[in-house]
C-alpha cells in the first residue's frame, strides 16, 4: 500500500514539474552611417574644384541604414570651406547638392522630393526602413576665373543621423 502511494506521488509530481525556458530578444531602432565612397576633387579648370565625374572628380557617397522606419532623420552638410588648403587670397564660391542614389526600397525615391534644403544642409526624414545611398556633389569656384594656387585641398562632408 505504501509503495503504491509513493509511486502515485512520484507520478503526480512528475506531471507538474516543468522547465521554464526564457526567450529574450531586443528590438532597437538603429541608424548606421556608412561611408561608401570617399570623394575626390577634380580640377577641370584652373579656378575650380569639383567632385563631379564630368570634372574629373569622384562623388562622395554615404549610405544610411535604418532598421525601423521614421525613427531617424538624415542631415547632410556639404562643405563651405576647405579643411586644408594653401593660403587663398580671393573668395571661394561653394555649391553643393545631395541626391538620392541607390535605394533598397523603391518608395525611397520619394526622398528626392521630400528633402528639406537650407544653406548647405539637406535634411531627409528616413520614413522607410532599409538602406539609402546619397550622392553628394561639391564644387568650389575661386575668385573670378582666378587660378587656384597649387597645393592640397581637402574638405569635409558631414553626414548625421538624428533620432526623431
Amino acid at each position: 500500500m505504501f509503495k503504491k502511494i509513493v509511486l502515485a506521488s512520484a507520478i503526480l509530481c512528475g506531471g507538474v514539474i516543468a522547465q521554464e525556458v526564457p526567450i529574450t530578444g531586443s528590438v532597437e531602432s538603429k541608424c548606421i552611417v556608412q561611408t561608401d565612397t570617399i570623394g575626390i576633387y577634380g580640377n577641370p579648370t584652373p579656378s575650380s574644384l569639383t567632385t563631379m565625374s564630368t570634372g574629373g572628380g569622384v562623388t562622395p557617397i554615404v549610405r544610411f541604414d535604418v532598421i525601423q522606419a521614421s525613427f531617424y532623420k538624415a542631415r547632410i552638410t556639404t562643405p563651405n570651406g576647405f579643411s586644408e588648403s594653401p593660403a587663398l587670397s580671393d573668395v571661394v564660391t561653394w555649391t553643393g547638392d545631395v541626391a538620392v542614389g541607390e535605394v533598397s526600397d523603391a518608395n525611397m525615391s520619394a526622398y528626392s522630393t521630400s528633402k528639406v534644403v537650407y544653406d548647405n544642409t539637406t535634411e531627409i526624414d528616413l520614413t522607410i526602413a532599409g538602406s539609402t545611398w546619397f550622392n553628394i556633389t561639391s564644387t568650389a569656384d575661386y575668385g573670378y576665373d582666378t587660378a587656384l594656387p597649387a597645393g592640397t585641398y581637402r574638405a569635409v562632408v558631414s553626414a548625421e543621423c538624428i533620432a526623431l
Binding site: V33, Q34, I38, V157
Partner: protein, 119 residues
C-alpha cells in the same frame, strides 16, 4: 533586410546606441547618468567625440571619463555620460561624431555624427 543590415556592419560605418537613452540617478547626488555604446567599423576613423546638446543643438555641459574616445577599427566601447539635474531638462541629444585626422591628400572626407534622443 536583416542580411542587408548585417552586411552593412562590415563596411566603414559608425553605430551609436541606444537610440532613446533614459537618464537615471547616478551614484553622485544631483547627477543623472546613462550608458551609451559606440561601435566603430570605419577604417579611416579612430577617434570619436561625444557631446550632449539641447533641442537647438547648443552644447549642454556633461561629464564623462573621456570626451574623445579612441576606438580601433571594429572596436566597441561603452561610455557613461553624467548630466547634472539642472542641465538634464534641456538635454535632448547625446551624439557621437567622428574626428578626422589631417592628411595630405586631395580628397573630401566624410564626417559622421549619430545623435540619440533622451527619453
Amino acid at each position: 533586410m536583416i542580411l542587408l543590415v548585417a552586411l552593412s556592419s562590415d563596411g566603414s560605418s559608425h553605430q551609436w546606441t541606444p537610440t532613446y537613452p533614459t537618464l537615471k540617478n547616478s551614484y553622485v547626488s544631483g547627477v543623472f547618468s546613462t550608458r551609451m555604446e559606440l561601435f566603430n567599423a570605419r577604417t579611416d576613423v579612430s577617434y570619436y567625440q561625444v557631446g550632449v546638446f539641447d533641442v537647438d543643438f547648443k552644447a549642454v555641459p556633461f561629464a564623462a571619463a573621456e570626451k574623445i574616445l579612441k576606438i580601433e577599427h571594429l572596436g566597441r566601447r561603452s561610455i557613461d555620460i553624467f548630466i547634472r539635474n539642472k542641465d538634464a531638462e534641456r538635454a535632448v541629444y547625446i551624439c557621437s561624431k567622428s574626428k578626422l585626422l589631417s592628411k595630405g591628400s586631395a580628397t573630401t572626407s566624410i564626417s559622421s555624427r549619430i545623435c540619440s534622443k533622451i527619453k
